[in-house]
Point group: C2
Chain length 193, copies 2
DNA sequence: GAACAGTTTGACCGATTGGCCAATATGGCC
DNA sequence: GGCCATATTGGCCAATCGGTCAAACTGTTC
């Protein structure tokens, strides 16, 4: 077994610290010193490993996207029909590894700041388009053409809205019931349209 | 007719400039100089009229809430049945005066920053609770008790998600079709559950 | 233990920002 | 015109932050 390089260890530590710090302080006011402190390191080490604050933010967002991607692949592996694959896509967004207060919070922050940071904007646009494309691919075999666009938009808007609600923190997020609710709405849209 | 006081004129100008600036630069990076420049004034005048940047942000959010409230009252005045009142609440969120790129953008910024600013947090929590309460009041007469919670959550999540999509700017928001889509989803939830 | 690549940090710098203040301008009112 | 409350701004300051750099530390290899 290969030894883990220090570089990889520190990358993981700093990204994890960034997620916690973003959740606590917010994108607009979080500082490099806070993130470094959260990771038990110094602010300078962030520049040593990532080059700049922006790059750390970019890598943090890549981490979230990677978690979503992993959850999606795991669920897709067991899906056999278009209907099952669509539900896999929807439920992946509320996977236990993804639907936590801190990560929902960070995701909302990225939504708000993506339009104003080039690197984040690219990642965000690509991910959004990919999710939309995945949903539409399955929907084409499930609903008539003229309703496809609206069903896809509705599903995506609902998922985004649930994340917002979770990020507000007025209710503790429960991934399992979030999946059940999302599944219920999706099936309602499929069967009754 | 009373003459409009200069104070009121400047308040309106600066809040309008803040909305435009927030849309263009984002909450995290907008500066008092930019907002003042957008309004054709100096940065010091913001402190003269609002006392601080935070207070200007608070007043800006109050303005958005006020626009929503006005749109809601206008539509509620013509609603006679619980079903009509529920649709009035839903469609008010996509009123022509509210559902613009700039305002959607600003609203998302407030969502992201509300947890980290006391004054915004209060406003945000109050508004969210009020909208939820309004929806539930009508739903109680439209759906059975056990489904009430989920229908309300679904409607609110959908509306938030549509605003997020509009704020991303990949599609130009069309208030009329947004109302039609929201109405369609609401009616689907009412009739088929 | 010498040499070297990789790692870590304290100290510092330049740039930016929000807010303050004194000075000036404006405009009604007698 | 003179007076005064109101309105407006340029200049300034203290604080903060991201990023640089040289120095120090660590561990591995010969």
């Amino acid at each position: 077994m290969r030894r883990k390089r220090i570089r990889d260890i520190r990358n993981d530590e700093l990204v994890a610290a960034a997620i916690r710090s973003l959740h606590q302080r917010g994108f607009g006011s979080v500082t490099m010193a806070e993130i470094a402190g959260e990771a038990g390191a110094s602010a300078a080490s962030i520049n040593y490993y990532f080059g700049s604050k922006d790059r750390l933010m970019e890598e943090t967002m890549r981490r979230l996207l990677s978690i979503l991607h992993t959850a999606l692949l795991t669920r897709l592996a067991e899906a056999r029909t278009p209907r099952q694959r669509l539900l896999a896509i929807v439920e992946a967004n509320f996977d236990d590894t993804l639907f936590t207060p801190a990560q929902c919070s960070v995701w909302v922050q990225f939504w708000a700041n993506a339009p104003y940071t080039n690197s984040l904007s690219r990642l965000h646009r690509i991910n959004r388009a990919r999710v939309a494309s995945n949903i539409r691919r399955e929907l084409r075999q499930l609903v008539p053409e003229q309703g496809l666009n609206r069903v896809q938009t509705t599903i995506q808007a609902y998922m985004d809205g649930i994340w917002i609600e979770a990020a507000q923190g007025d209710t503790i997020p429960d991934a399992a019931s979030a999946r059940a609710d999302a599944r219920a709405l999706t099936e309602l849209l499929l069967d009754r349209r």
